[in-house]
């Protein structure tokens, strides 16, 4: 649950009060094979991110705004306009970085105005990139590394947890299988020593190692 949606399709949340820019950024992102949700304000963005957090713990929450998909959606990147009425892109950035659950999501700021002080302030606050509008296709190439970095960090964490669990499971199974094996070995030796018996055992032992322990379980039963 909560894994990056299958085929490496990343989900971007785009925030812009201007309808033209929203349409443009949506098209640009889709062209680069991202999944997109657009909202027109910082508060709606937080709402989406906040409600979305609940989605993960208890599925079946009402569909929100532009998002009609009823699946597990993780936001892998947030791209936001700077100049917006009410909550500016900078305010939104701050709120995201202040949230323990959201601060790992990479944030990119866009602006039509090239103000160096503004740019450095955003970067200092934790924005990954600052795009000048109008945004072009080539700019989107700069997004990939940030998304990949964040996702692989998540995946590593999850994988680590999964692997730990799998190892515990395997240990249990191996123990019980070894026990069964020993019993059967004794049984076989009593019957008749067969050369094939040895190779069978070898094969079984080999297969015990990595992850395919379950099929072998049924094989052992068949031998009897």
């Amino acid at each position: 649950m909560g894994m990056a949606a299958a085929e490496s399709r990343f989900h971007v949340l785009a925030v812009d009060d201007n309808i033209i820019d929203r349409k443009l950024i949506e098209r640009l992102l889709k062209t680069s094979s991202y999944q997109v949700t657009t909202v027109d304000s910082g508060s709606k963005a937080l709402e989406f991110l906040g409600l979305h957090e609940d989605d993960r713990s208890n599925s079946g929450s009402p569909s929100i705004l532009t998002n009609n998909h009823h699946q597990e959606l993780e936001v892998n990147l947030i791209i936001t306009d700077y100049c917006m009425p009410g909550m500016t892109g900078y305010d939104l950035l701050k709120k995201i970085k202040e949230s323990s659950s959201l601060r790992d999501i990479p944030v990119v700021i866009m602006s039509s105005e090239n103000v160096p002080a503004r740019i450095s302030r955003c970067l200092e606050e934790g924005a990954e990139e600052f795009f000048l509008k109008p945004v072009r296709k080539s700019d989107l190439n700069r997004l990939r590394p940030h998304v990949m970095k964040a996702v692989s960090k998540d995946q590593k964490q999850e994988k680590h947890e999964e692997e730990e669990e799998e190892e515990k499971q395997e240990e249990k199974e191996i123990k019980s299988q070894k026990h069964q094996e020993q019993q059967q070995q004794q049984h076989q030796q009593q019957l008749s020593p067969r050369p094939s018996g040895n190779s069978k055992r070898k094969a079984m032992e080999e297969n015990l190692s990595p992850d395919r322990t379950r099929p072998r379980y049924s094989d052992i039963a068949a031998v009897v």
């Binding site: 033209i20 820019d21 296709k137």
Partner: protein
């Protein structure tokens, strides 16, 4: 078929002249490049949105201009939006006009 290619040529010429006269800039080409078989009407959709949005903005601006004294902050804010949209679709001339307008706003120049 003849008519078709003639029309195509005409459209191409018109399009080119818009660029030549400075109405459109490189950004418009970017829009065209975003259009493909899966999204064949992208440019039309964006431009339609733009006209609708601009009409709304212009109406607001006209209203604001009727007031006195002039609220330059409000006007500047409308213009910021208008300029942003125009820039995004490659409306070079309109963008320039907006920039000029904003200069006047900042200078408090109602006459301009």
């Amino acid at each position: 078929m003849e008519r078709n290619s003639q029309l195509h040529r005409q459209v191409a010429l018109m399009r080119q002249s818009l660029f030549d006269q400075g109405y459109l800039d490189e950004q418009f080409v970017q829009l065209e490049e975003l259009q493909d078989d899966a999204n064949p009407n992208f440019v039309e959709e964006v431009v339609t949105l733009y006209y609708r949005d601009s009409a709304r903005l212009i109406a607001s601006i006209e209203q604001a201009l009727d007031k006195s004294p002039l609220d330059f902050n409000k006007l500047d804010s409308y213009m910021h939006q208008f300029k942003g949209s125009s820039s995004s679709i490659g409306g070079r001339k309109v963008k320039a006009e907006c920039a000029q307008f904003r200069e006047y706003c900042r200078a408090g120049n109602g006459e301009g």
